[in-house]
Amino acid sequence: MEVDKGKGEAEETRKVAEADRDTVTLKSSDGKLFEVSKEAAARLSTVLAGMIAGGSIDDNGTDLKQIGSEALENVVDYCNKHANSIPSAALISSSISFNTAPFKEPEEWERKFVDRLSHDALFDLVEAANFLGMERLLDVTCHKISEMMKGKSPDQIREVFNIKNDYTKEELEEIRQELAWAFYDD
């Protein structure tokens, strides 16, 4: 690349270096910095792709005020892992796409990636994926959450997600009229 050897040499060199950098720096709501592959970020997140294309990426750390450091670490971790993973066609075709035709099945490493998360961390991650427009990560996290619901009674689901039953007796009776089988024998 030809660089003008004139006055603004230092400035120009810095700009070129920035343009050539293959990572971007993201800053969590609590001020922590994370580096992520620019290619993966642009490919996996529509929001980050827009920021990179629009030049609104800050070299000192792009502020993502809605995302905490733990969730952002997971997002970055996911992007970097994705950048390194070789999409395995064999794995995709051999996995049972069980009645989820419109959705792509998570790959093995993606399953493991979300399986190790605490339920709070999973909650933060699905919100972050939604905020950043990360379709693939949303697929993976929503798939994981749906697996936590399947084949369970309402009581069991409440227990898994730690939700208090806030229905009144009258409301439950009303629902029972409509849907008898939502009432399980536990």
Partner: protein
Amino acid sequence: MAATLDRWKCLPTVLLRSVIRRVPCEADRASVALVCRNWRAALATPPGEAPLLLPPQLPWLLRPLPGGPAFSCLFCSDGVSSTIHRFRLPDDARTARYFGSYDGRWAFAASRLADDAPMLLNLRTGERYSVPREFLPGIFRSSEPGASGAMTMLVATLSSAPDADGDPCVGAAIVRSAPFDGRSGHLQITFWRMGHQYAMPPYDLMMGGEPVDVVYHDGAFQFLTEDEHLYVCRPVFGQGGVLQAVEKGLRVVQKHWCRCRAYDQQPHVRYLVESRGELLMVVKASPASNEQRSPMWTFMVFRMTQIQTSNPYHMIYTWNMVPSLNGRILFVGLGCSRAYEVADFPGFKEGIYFLDDRDTRMNHTEPYPCSDNGKWSRVPPFVNHCFPPHQGESNYSSPVWVLP
């Protein structure tokens, strides 16, 4: 790793809806909506938004476990095995004898608590209709001493859902009338208008042996006989939707087909099922003289074809073997066989799901065998017992399909 209390309650609506789209089973969706008020509101369709479409559903296997039935769902699992739902059922449905089912999660049940009174119960809503237990009095055996109009329904189906628009709902059943005069009751067929107290006088099949299965197809109830003839019984309505009569026609199957026709396997049960607008007969067979507890079943599928004869008033039919399932998923059960398309169920492969009907002498004597439920695949021939856990016998019912 429990989450912070009530945090998930506040999962944004768009995300909760995105999750629920990945939950294909209608019973699961009902459970999720019942978790808390927020979730129920999120899953209700807001004005102007597309409703959360439920994908096509498959039958559940109703399994008579001690204390009440459980429902094995093929959806809530990995597509190979099944998962169990256990709903709260009314007390009189808990140890009932189930003898049929109909689309929309309707099940025929005879309650032991209510002196074996038969009913049609909706498992989704709890709605119910009573079903006749006697023939219309005054006609049946009135002159014979000791005779009664009582009967036991063994296999039953409907012309439509009881709450559907259109022609009135008619039921049809294979029944055993009450024994009298030292003779045990034999198998007959009968019909009733849903909601009526009495069934029409029983009808004896004149030829072809006893009735073995029934399905509603092409505007008529089709009864299959032991000899594989077909009785076509068309309800006729009078003014005000009164069930006036049932026109009966017989489709005789070519003689050399009957009884003496050599199956290379021992036929065990025959079913009728409607698929792609036509009627199929499915024969479940096992290697001859196989006395194992769970025989290695094989299944054969046939299509009825008319044989051209010189006499236009003398029509003869034959059953032609259908060589391949050709993308079909069949569920076979007496009175409740249904066909589905592989194309509608990603992840599923063609095959025939069957249930334990080794009690098909229709004696309905306890205990009922319940362990032999599974899926048969043709290539390579294979039986997968895909409804764990293993269940031995039940003292109140045979298994039955609960149809979506």
